[in-house]
């Protein structure tokens, strides 16, 4: 997969060849200002565009998920550490934050509610220091195994220490316990959203800044070649451990925001399912690009809230998407976007967009066929009592009849065959375009 840093290349090559080097370097800086400005504006005006209470709640969850997935990607994408237990750090921080809220209520811990996410961050960092030293001793498979083990261990603590975790019922608190400040009580969800938005923006900026520091770069080096790192003076364990702690801090901020947002927490936030979701959506969004996990976080909330409403089989669809992503586009959505932006920067997107239409059309046909069959199976298994008929995309299917099954499988087969034809054509075209772009770059370099 060509995840070869297309941004820098594309932007450098997009600048006219005659401008001096300094000007070329300024262009990406302007792009950066634009990107961050856009991100801030998006966070700011999102609740104006989506203002129902469900939408505000989803936006809040998205903000939290962005921080969580970016912190996860500090391990996965930047450090090559495949963690199966990131929920330990978001989850424990949520528990600590809930207790901090209770502390504010009882007067034992007098801080403003708006600082609760920082408490969460410190809690996340504390647990990362406590558990991370052992975890980061090894990279690769042992690292993954240890995170899995620690995840199970911490999840098991929930029932062992009910004083802290509240047993099966969990712990609840009240976020409006602080003194109102300029009318801000954190009662209305919109106030909570803006608190989350501020933390999301600052955390994202801080994590991006981290990628441009000596430790951030050495973390990439440790990902690429831990052996060589030791021969240029760095202790790989220490690099991993420090990055793990910083990742834990931001995971903790996400956990603290979660505590304020939901005001109740139970053992579920520590489960491997949650850790798995961080992994899955960070990967889907794109672990090789900094902003990839932001896309993943948006998908995570949309899938969890909307797709799960739409169909009982949503995890199955999610699994299928994940599978195809791992197989065909291991750089996730972010790398797909970047690669096409590069093609667009060279003015060649026009040549390939009909292929995208063909791909989308055939994929849709195949997906519709597959989805109809999946829904019919689910219907037969779970809703037998309602009779054999079900509504699917505006049509009525008879899951007991031959017609629906035949139609669905025909759609699937034809869709798959045509998709494969379209895919081959597309790959050929794509390869041609990439070659032309390489030539173009060489030509511009030679000027």
């Amino acid at each position: 997969m060509a995840t070869a840093n297309p941004t820098t290349r594309a932007s450098a090559a997009a600048a006219p060849a005659v401008v001096p080097a300094a000007a070329v370097r300024r262009t990406p800086a302007r792009g950066r200002v634009l990107a961050w400005g856009g991100f801030a504006v998006a966070l700011l005006i999102a609740p104006l565009l989506f203002h129902s209470s469900l939408e505000i709640s989803m936006l809040s969850q998205i903000g939290i998920a962005i921080v969580a997935c970016l912190s996860y990607n500090m391990l996965l994408g930047q450090g090559g550490m495949l963690s199966f237990g990131h929920a330990v750090y978001t989850g424990l921080a949520t528990f600590v934050s809930i207790h901090a809220l209770l502390g504010i209520a009882s007067g034992a811990f007098p801080i403003p509610v708006s600082l609760i996410p920082l408490v969460g961050g410190l809690a996340g960092a504390f647990f990362a220091v406590l558990l991370g030293y052992v975890t980061t001793k090894k990279a690769g498979t042992p690292f993954a195994m240890i995170t899995l083990g620690i995840g199970e261990l911490v999840a098991a603590m929930v029932l062992m220490v009910p004083e802290f975790f509240g047993g099966e019922g969990g712990v609840s608190a009240n976020r409006t316990v602080g003194k109102p400040f300029m009318g801000i009580t954190f009662g209305p969800p919109i106030q909570v959203y803006y608190l989350i938005a501020i933390y999301t923006f600052l955390s994202t900026a801080a994590m991006y800044a981290f990628t441009r520091t000596p430790l951030g770069r050495m973390l990439n080096a440790v990902r690429d070649n831990p052996e060589r790192v030791e021969f240029v003076g760095y202790d790989t364990h220490w690099v991993r451990f420090m990055a793990f702690t910083i990742s834990g801090f931001f995971a903790g901020i996400a956990g603290g925001l979660g505590a304020i947002n939901t005001e109740i927490v139970n053992g579920e936030v520590l489960h491997a399912t949650r850790s798995g979701a961080y992994l899955l959506f960070t990967f889907l969004g794109g672990a090789t690009v900094f902003f990839g996990p932001i896309i993943g976080a948006v998908l995570m909330v949309i899938c969890g809230v909307l797709l799960s409403e739409l169909t009982k089989a949503w995890l199955l669809y999610l699994g299928l998407i994940f599978l195809f992503m791992v197989m065909y586009a291991p750089g996730g959505f972010a790398s797909l976007i970047l690669m096409n932006l590069r093609v667009a920067a060279f003015g060649k997107l026009g040549r390939i967009w009909t292929s995208y239409l063909a791909l989308a059309g055939t994929a849709l046909a195949a997906l519709t066929g597959a989805a109809a069959m999946i829904e019919m199976v689910y219907h037969r298994q779970l809703n037998e009592a309602l009779g054999p008929e079900l509504r699917f995309m505006g049509a009525t299917l008879n899951s007991a009849g031959v017609d629906a099954w035949f139609g669905a499988s025909w759609l699937l087969v034809v869709g798959v065959v045509l998709f494969e034809v379209a895919r081959r054509h597309y790959l050929h075209q794509w390869g041609e375009i990439q070659e032309e772009i390489e030539k173009e770059i060489k030509r511009r370099e030679a000027l």
Partner: protein, 259 residues
């Protein structure tokens, strides 16, 4: 602690893997600024010796001193921080980082930036200037933004050397730096190695006898885990024991190949 004036000293170093002893009491004393080539037949333990000196493995027994300080059994990064740097036989790069980033990673520690996450790389003028310097020295300044995995073989070998010397170590170990290169590339590369290691102590493992006699001030002959000779190229060439054990056959081979 030893008080000898040697840059690098090995005293009766031994290393066993399981029951087989690969290094059987190697002794070597290299003066500061000397260029030493280590030669020997395949399986003599040349690479193992490098691995012992650079800390990849700990010796089973014996002592290794760097500038009079004991380094045997130390971690690679501790040894590197004391001024010893090595290259690898198979290029060992940060594949998904650019050429520039590869070299910059190798200068950060020695300039004291360590694990800093409170300063930006772009502001580290010393590290960036040093990196540019190294890139010019290894003649990769025009390829600075290329990912290491996209380099040609010769370029990757040059970057390997660049990473090795970037930290400013005074003692450099090069493991077959010219392996796999064509004759003309090798010539160019030897000159490059000469240029970038001026004033440093250099140890290199090398197969090409032309290169060895051209580059080295002294030659160490390693046979079955022992240094059987350590002298100037002329003296080693004349050494009967070396001829018997090794050089004769290699020279004969090379003559046969040339004929």
């Amino acid at each position: 602690m030893s008080s000898t004036g040697y840059a690098l000293e090995l005293r009766d170093v031994r290393k066993s893997f399981g029951k087989s002893e690969i290094i059987r009491g190697a002794n070597l004393a290299v003066q500061a600024g000397e260029r030493v080539a280590i030669i020997g037949p395949n399986g003599a333990g040349k690479s193992t010796l490098f691995n012992l000196i650079s800390g990849r493995f700990a010796p089973t027994s014996g002592e290794i001193h760097l500038h009079g300080r004991r380094i045997d059994g130390r971690k690679p990064y501790e040894i590197n921080r004391q001024g010893l740097s090595r290259s690898f036989q198979v290029s060992n790069l940060f594949t998904r980082l650019s050429v520039f980033e590869n070299v910059r990673c190798a200068v950060l520690w020695s300039l004291g930036h360590r694990y800093a996450f409170w300063k930006f790389l772009a502001d580290l003028d010393d590290a960036n200037d040093r990196t540019e310097q190294i890139l010019e020295m290894i003649k990769l300044d025009k390829r600075r933004d290329v990912l290491a995995m996209n380099l040609t073989y010769a370029e990757a070998r040059a970057l390997e050397i660049g990473i090795t010397i970037a930290g400013g170590a005074s003692c450099i170990l090069l493991d077959e730096p010219t392996a796999g290169m064509s004759k003309s590339e090798t010539q160019r590369f030897i000159q490059l190695i000469r240029d970038v290691t001026v004033g440093k102590t250099l140890l290199t493992v090398e197969h090409d006898m032309g290169v060895v006699f051209g580059l080295a001030d002294k030659i160490a002959v390693l046979v079955y885990g022992e240094v059987i000779a350590f002298d100037t190229p002329e003296a080693v060439r004349a050494n009967a024991r070396v001829q018997e054990a090794y050089l004769g056959s290699v020279l004969a081979e090379q003559q046969a190949a040339a004929a």
